[in-house]
């Protein structure tokens, strides 16, 4: 199975270290979410994957071989700073870009027609890009990334500035591409969207990848937390290794080292009253992101 390997990328701008050994893999059919605060190094990583920027160290491999121009031409790329010829017609522009990626003219025209249809900008083919609304320009930009039927997709902030309908269309397209076996990497600040779409997530902070894994992996911390809510009665007792971290009215937040320890808490709760709710607390990606980012900040300051 094809796999895109990003291996120990390094990049400095003068004294600023933009990337400090970023490594991750994306396999065929996987949607990889790339998350991080502004200036963390997401765009730099993507630019290096595309060869638009030369890294100081590290390597990008596809199927085990370093990515060269031939492979890059098969990547669909949507840069963070949107770029299209403002005075060129949508249709002509997409055909031109497809041809630059090696498609024949007939194939390029067919692909242009297909993607403008799918993305809902078919009736704007004859208009100059300049004349389109920002949202529609964004759709054309995505069409530009897809028009040559790429083997790999690298999208920098594909969802920024889209209305909910467009977000749905775009999500559907990404899922469809992944289902075809295309590895998809995209960056976003819309974390709920990342959570919903991505198979795996990488959180980047100050040029380093500080968290990497599936959403579930990232959520499962060493000390799992549980909420216990009782309809009546009270929860009291001592359980080995378990601590109560917060308490409200008939509501307790307990931290347990293992599932068994948590079960012990549940058993004593059942004996003491009516249990209305007993759930593991799954931190959202937003919580994780904030944790990870602030953690490393503290770490860096220490």
């Amino acid at each position: 199975m094809s796999i895109l390997e990003i291996d120990a990328l390094e990049k400095s701008y003068g004294r600023v270290r933009a990337l400090d050994g970023v490594s991750f893999n994306v396999s065929a059919g996987e949607i990889f979410g790339f998350v991080g605060s502004n200036g963390a190094g997401k765009t730099t990583t993507m630019r290096i994957i595309l060869g638009v920027l030369r890294g100081d160290g590290g390597q990008v491999r596809w199927d085990g071989a370093p990515v060269d121009l031939q492979v890059r031409r098969r990547i669909g790329y949507m840069p963070e700073e949107r770029g299209l010829y403002p005075r060129m017609k949508v249709g002509e522009q997409l055909v031109y870009l497809a041809q630059l990626h090696g498609l024949s003219e007939a194939d390029a025209v067919a692909a242009m027609e297909h993607w403008t249809d799918v993305l809902g900008v078919a009736e704007r083919r004859g208009d100059e890009v300049d004349k389109l609304s920002l949202g529609n320009q964004q759709r054309v930009q995505l069409a530009a990334a897809l028009v040559h039927d790429p083997d790999i997709l690298v999208l920098d902030e594909p969802f920024s500035g889209l209305d909910p309908v467009a977000v749905a269309v775009m999500s559907e397209v990404l899922r469809g591409q992944a289902a075809k076996g295309v590895p998809v990497i995209f960056s976003s600040h819309q974390l709920e969207l990342v959570e919903k779409l991505c198979d795996r997530v990488g959180i980047v902070k100050a040029g380093r990848l500080v968290a990497l894994g599936t959403i579930d992996e990232l959520r499962s911390t060493d000390r799992q937390q549980w909420t216990v809510t009782l309809a009546d009665g009270d929860l009291a007792g001592e359980w080995p290794g378990v601590s109560v971290t917060a308490q409200g009215e008939r509501r307790w937040l307990v931290e347990a080292p293992s599932r068994d320890a948590a079960q012990a808490v549940l058993a004593s709760a059942l004996s003491q009253g009516t249990v209305a709710e007993f759930t593991p607390v799954r931190p959202s990606l937003t919580d994780l992101f904030q944790d990870v980012v602030s953690d490393t900040e503290e770490g860096a300051h220490a």
Binding site: R47, G51, Y77, G83, Y85, L100, H101
Partner: protein, 388 residues
Amino acid sequence: MMWLIAKREFRTRTMSKANLISSGIMLVVVIGGALIAKPFLDGESEATVLEVDTATAAPLIPYLDSAAAAQDFDLEVVEVDAGEEPAPSEGAAGVLVGPAEQPQLYLGDGNDALVSVVHGAAQAAVLDERISDLGGDPAGVGDALAAATPDVTVVGDTNDFDGQTFFAGVVVVIVLFFVLIQSASVIMMGVVEEKSSRVVEVLLATVRPATLLGGKVLGVGMYSLVQAATMFVPLVGAAWYLGFMDTLDVPAGLLVTNFAVWFVLGFAVFTILFGGLAALVSRQEDIGSITTPMMFLMMVPLYLAIYLVPNNPDGTATVVLTQVPFFAPFLVPMRAAFGTITTGETVLAIVICLVTIPVLTWIAGRVYAGAVLNTGGRMKLTEAFKRG
């Protein structure tokens, strides 16, 4: 790939409304101007009509024709009956009556050239008559006279200022200058446009920077060539239509060849370099910081070609500068117009240019690659080169 880029560049530039309109206006002005000017110019060059009294002056007609031919005078002879009071009729310049020994010319207005032709014809007629009377052969004498023309060779300082050659040379280098400066500007604007619209990042993901720059240079080159052609073909056509071409006494073929060769070489040298440098700026407003040095780099050679070459066509400075790539496109055609450049020098200048082009391409490509993704202010040349 490069061809695809060149084709787009060519199409968008050629098909732009501004270009179509300005080319159209240019065509209309040149063709219309020629059509309007033609009758006036023809009116001036119409043959002068001289009426000749059949009864008295008919024998002079062949002499009039040959005298007019010898003096390069466009004469049309019409035989008339002059009558008692000779006067030129409508449309005729004069009336000639009387025998060769005593010709009388009645003119509508003073026409020295016509008088001179009639004078020559009368003298020739009288001379022939006397030679025949003396038993000689008038035709032989005529040939002998015609042969007795001095064969002029100027020795000594041959560098006398030749106005027409100078003019032709200046026209060639100035036209070259404008075509080159226009192409360089177009390519610089193109580079900055791609950079400011950020489309360059999409392009660079699939195309090497050198290919992108090369395609642009090629496309703009074709565009400039077509534009120069749409300007010059009608102009030359109009000049030919109006009969200007016959009066030009310059080595036109040599000048055109020189123009073609140095258009291509100068184009490559200047546009590649400035295409690369244009990547240093991010906005159209900042392009001035690149155009100013470009103007200098092109105007200095132009002025040298116009002022140095005519005064000192084979001095040391001229000979040395001829071999410098940025100077050659202007100096070589100018020296060629003056005929003071040896074939060896021309070939050497072309070879040096051809060798410089790959070097320039490498430097410009590197600067371009290093600077083209940089946004914000103007980038330092050395920094761009290092990054590229």
